[in-house]
Amino acid sequence: MEETGATERDLAAAAINARRRAARNPRALLKSPLTEDTYFREPYIAEPFRRVDCTVEVDGACAVLVTSLELARDLRLPPALIASSGWHTHSFDLDMGSILTYESGAKNFGHFMKDRLFAEAGISASDLDAACLYDCFTGVLLQNIEGFGLCPPGGAGELIRNQMDDPSLPQINPSGGLLAEGYLHGINHVAEAVWQLQGMAGPTQVRDCKHVMVCSGGMMDGAAMILTRDARG
């Protein structure tokens, strides 16, 4: 927030988006609606994070079957294709340790891998129909949106507010994400992305969904994929 000028209203946008989308998701844990008014009445846990800025711990499981395109096309359900994937780390440290050595929170792992990720997939961030981005806290979602270049630094709050009512923009965390569906460490983002591309996301389905980005991680270490709908399907 010091670096990009992000405000608590931008954090609120992430929490509101999560609840609004979770309300349509039968699997989601937190479906009660949230407005800016009710957001700002929520108690702080670790300021600037309030209770609704933090994910909800949950027990659950997802399974993703990875196989060759040839075998996948032989199955009953249409496959999602991995158009590109990658992992980025930082220095000799791991995970939370990077907080002690990173140069800029506005340049998280996504900043360093986005060019290759999108180039290998042959698309740009504006081509995404949906993005299932790791959101253990609202602030991490802002970092991922900006790190992967879905908008300029400091613009994530505005993008989240705009995409809620503009289907031409990438739809951010259509399931409600880890913030509201539940914290399955990000594997539920992968499952949601696959369902979106299979057209099986039900009430959270993004219309004509062809390209979805998924990521896990928020600071200096993390992984990401771009998944696409099978053109033959």
Binding site: A46, P48, F92
Partner: protein, 130 residues
């Protein structure tokens, strides 16, 4: 100490005396605060331990309204700061006596409060010039 790097035991022992211990990489010169057997910059394992003067600036902070440990319930809300110490490296610590209504920001100068640090066995900082 010396070529053994900075162990958690060394780090905690220094804290109990009100001092932050750091290590300096013999290969690349980098200073780091995290107890480790190797340098985060170059991976070298020849690290020299050194006592730091406790001066630095705020890198980031949160105000805890919910205590991480139940023993700190009476202290909420308290501030946990990530401090970049002079010469490089970051360390977490409490930040005490921030005046009500004072707007914290990155880069504000702080220094270690040795007696509070020794009493608590975790780093305790104060704003410099406040």
């Amino acid at each position: 100490m010396g070529a053994e790097g900075l162990s958690l035991q060394n780090f905690n022992e220094a804290l109990s005396r009100g001092v932050i211990a750091v290590s300096i990489c013999s290969a690349c010169g980098r200073q780091q605060v995290i107890p480790s057997v190797s340098c985060f910059s170059c991976g070298a394992t020849q690290l020299q331990m050194k006592e730091h003067n406790g001066y630095g600036v705020i890198f980031s902070w949160v105000t805890c309204h919910y205590p991480f440990d139940a023993a700190w319930q009476a202290e909420v809300p308290y501030i946990v700061a990530l401090v970049e110490i002079d010469g490089g490296g970051r360390v977490y610590g409490r930040l005490l006596d921030v005046p009500a209504g004072f707007r914290l920001r990155a880069e504000l100068p702080v220094n270690l409060d040795a007696s509070e640090t020794a009493a608590k066995s975790y780093p305790v900082f104060r704003l410099r010039g406040k």
